[in-house]
């Protein structure tokens, strides 16, 4: 054991004294403090959740939705491209025969485990039919049980694109 002598940092005397730097930092802090005190409208932080963010754009990757065709039926054809591309392997699909002559194949089950999802958007990129999108703007998804985070096909179909987004 012994005492390790640490050399003082800084080159000039002013730097070695530290205090001038501390004063400089506090100056910035206080200038923001007084500006914000005078005018609260420009504050960068939010009083979440009373206050909701307004800067979520259409490109924001929110909770998924399954899109619909012109006749309001499901667009997905259960091709498994999304679940193949998904790095978290959290898309669970079961395919079935589609009987209404619109197409041959459709999903019987389609669920996404949002607890496993890493919101990478890979599924949206992979879909050849534009059947899955993440443009709902839903950024907060709170549930009480784990199982409730596995969203099923009906929920995914019920999600709407965010306001101002493309249909």
């Amino acid at each position: 054991m012994g005492i390790k002598v640490v050399p003082r940092h800084g080159k000039s005397l002013k730097e070695k004294m530290y205090l001038p730097a501390i004063v400089g930092g506090l100056k910035v802090t206080f200038s923001h403090f007084f500006t914000n005190l005078k005018d609260t409208s420009n504050i960068q932080t939010l009083n979440y959740p009373e206050e909701q963010p307004k800067d979520i754009t259409e490109r924001y990757r929110g909770v998924h939705r399954l899109t619909k065709r012109e006749d309001d039926s499901v667009r997905c054809v259960a091709c498994f491209m999304c679940s193949t591309a998904c790095p978290a392997e959290c898309i669970f699909i079961e395919a079935t025969e589609r009987e209404d002559n619109v197409d041959e194949k459709m999903p019987k089950k389609f669920s996404i485990d949002l607890l496993e999802c890493v919101f990478c958007g890979g599924c949206v990129e992979a879909c050849p039919c534009d059947a899955i999108r993440m443009d709902t703007g839903i950024f907060s998804f709170v549930k009480e049980k784990r199982e409730d985070f596995v969203v099923d096909i009906d929920t995914l179909l019920s999600h709407k694109p965010m306001k101002g987004g493309k249909k």
Binding site: V77, A78, C79, F80, M81, T84, E89, F92, A95, T96, E97, D103, E104, K105, P128, C129
Partner: protein
């Protein structure tokens, strides 16, 4: 033999053989639709074009006999252009519905498209449509739009099954594959057209939409549908949070046994493998701990020593038979492979299917296991152990047999007849060697893992024998090589081997 030069590389090939055959054999990729080794050439798809020095125009490799000193180019700008044009022709009326097509992932058209080029659709008129999703019988679904008119399916029904159910209807871009009115596809080998079809025009109704093919893992196995023992692939997959299950069987090429095909009954027998997966041991119909049940069997064997009958299925592997034989010697038991249920006079034909439904009857003979009727030889028996079979009828009439034990992948409904039931793994989950009806020895490699707690028959017996031989290799070294002297375990890993007649 002839020497030819392909893409500046010299290779030695058979003189006079078809060029495509030898190129494919040498691992040189030649795109092709209509040529198939089992059906021969037809020369209608023009996909297999190669440049041959001295010939003005590109030639089809599937109808060019090899001559000494040929100089061939399979790559290069010129040939690429030709392929691209032919593919563009094929795609003019193709629906390109890969997302809903079961062939996607193993489709020749899709593969060649990715190889040859990603081009724009130059067509301004609407596509000519055909009928989709037509059930043409025998579990085969036809999509006329996806067809490339290679006529492989037509030639299969004409040349192989000779049933002639399929034909080409109409002319030019209205040409479609069709059955004749009121005469659906119906022959015991019909589903092979699904494998033959290079695109998604013929798909299996049984496999339809169950799994995308790129998830499937193929395991090499042999079919246990009959004594032909066709070579197959077991396509299985373990989805997240689910048990491993089998989705289809496909023929595995074996020129000694089944060629490129299998029968439909064998192909669909995978379902039994998925269904018969008992994993809980039972004592008098009540669930029991596995270890306890296995220990109880050991105690039973010790108690009834000298008065035991092992009734084994003639479909067990050689390894399993050898081990049961060892077990029977240890406990002075009678060992029998008598099994009347394994014959079906209506099953066989003159192609692949055989009346004998057991997979390894010749194995019984080889290991000298008795298969004559039980008759009076069971008079002093009071414990019967059925292995790999659940035909209680065979021993029902022998009242002196008090204790009945079943070791089988599935539990029959009337399960309280048995004093003890031990589950064992199914056929595609147990490795082993089999001798087929024509004397070919084959090794089935597939060991699909579905339930951790269920044991293979070799594991079960090794506990009863108190030895450690649980792998096929060990049993070959230990006992089988004493009987089969000229064939070794390694010899049957890659292909089947004909047994000596002696």
């Amino acid at each position: 033999m002839a020497t030819i030069i392909v893409d500046n590389k010299e290779i030695t090939v058979e003189n006079g053989a078809l060029l495509i055959e030898e190129l494919l054999k040498n691992g040189i990729e030649i795109p092709h639709f209509c040529y198939h080794p089992a059906l021969g050439k037809d020369g209608n798809c023009r996909m297999c074009m190669v440049e041959i020095e001295g010939k003005k125009r590109p030639q089809i490799a599937c109808d060019t006999p090899i001559t000494e000193g040929m100089i061939i180019r399979t790559k290069g700008e010129k040939i690429q252009k030709v392929k691209r044009q032919i593919l563009e022709m094929e795609l003019i009326n193709h629906p390109i519905d890969c997302p809903i097509c079961d062939q996607a992932g193993e489709c020749s058209l899709q593969n060649y498209y990715m190889d040859v080029g990603l081009y724009e659709n130059r067509l301004s008129t609407p596509k000519t449509h055909g009928k989709k999703n037509i059930d043409i019988g025998a579990n085969v679904v036809l999509d006329q739009e996806r067809c490339v008119l290679c006529t492989r399916c037509v030639r299969f029904t004409k040349d192989i099954t000779k049933t002639k159910e399929l034909g080409v209807l109409n002319r030019t871009d209205h040409s479609v594959i069709s059955i004749f009115p009121g005469r659906p596809l119906s022959n015991p080998y019909a589903m092979n057209v699904v494998d033959l079809c290079p695109v998604g025009a013929l798909t299996s109704k049984d496999f339809r939409f169950h799994k995308r093919v790129w998830f499937l893992e193929p395991a090499e196995a042999i079919c246990n549908g009959c004594s032909k023992g066709c070579s197959i692939y077991v396509d299985h997959h373990k989805a997240k949070y689910e048990d491993d299950s089998i989705f289809r069987y496909r023929p595995r090429f074996n020129d000694q046994i089944n060629g490129y095909f299998i029968c439909d009954v064998g192909r669909l027998s995978y379902k039994v493998e998925n269904k018969n997966r008992e994993s809980v041991a039972k004592i008098r119909g009540k669930e029991s701990e596995y270890e306890y049940a296995s220990g109880k069997l050991l105690r039973l064997l010790k108690r009834h020593q000298g008065k035991i009958l092992f009734l084994i299925s003639p479909s067990l592997s050689l390894e399993e038979m050898a081990q049961v034989k060892k077990l029977s010697i240890k406990y002075g038991a009678k060992l029998s492979g008598y099994d009347i249920c394994e014959y079906d006079k209506t099953f066989g034909d003159d192609y692949l299917k055989c009346n004998d439904l057991s997979t390894n009857r010749r194995g019984l003979n080889l290991l000298d296991i008795d298969e004559s009727e039980l008759g009076e030889s069971v008079e002093n028996i009071d414990l019967a152990v059925l292995i790999g079979r659940d035909d209680i009828e065979t021993i029902k009439n022998y009242e002196q047999i008090e204790v009945k034990v079943l070791v089988h992948p599935s539990m029959p409904k009337d399960n309280d007849i048995y004093n003890l039931y031990l589950p064992m793994l199914t056929h595609t989950s147990r490795q082993g060697s089999f001798i087929n009806i024509d004397g070919y020895l084959q090794f089935s490699k597939s060991n699909v893992e579905y339930a951790k707690e269920t044991q293979s028959l070799l594991q079960i017996i090794s506990i009863l024998l108190n030895d450690n031989a649980t792998t096929c290799k060990e049993i070959w070294d230990e006992s089988l090589n004493k009987i089969i002297k000229n064939i070794h375990f390694e010899d049957i890993q890659k292909r089947s081997v004909k047994m000596d007649e002696s």
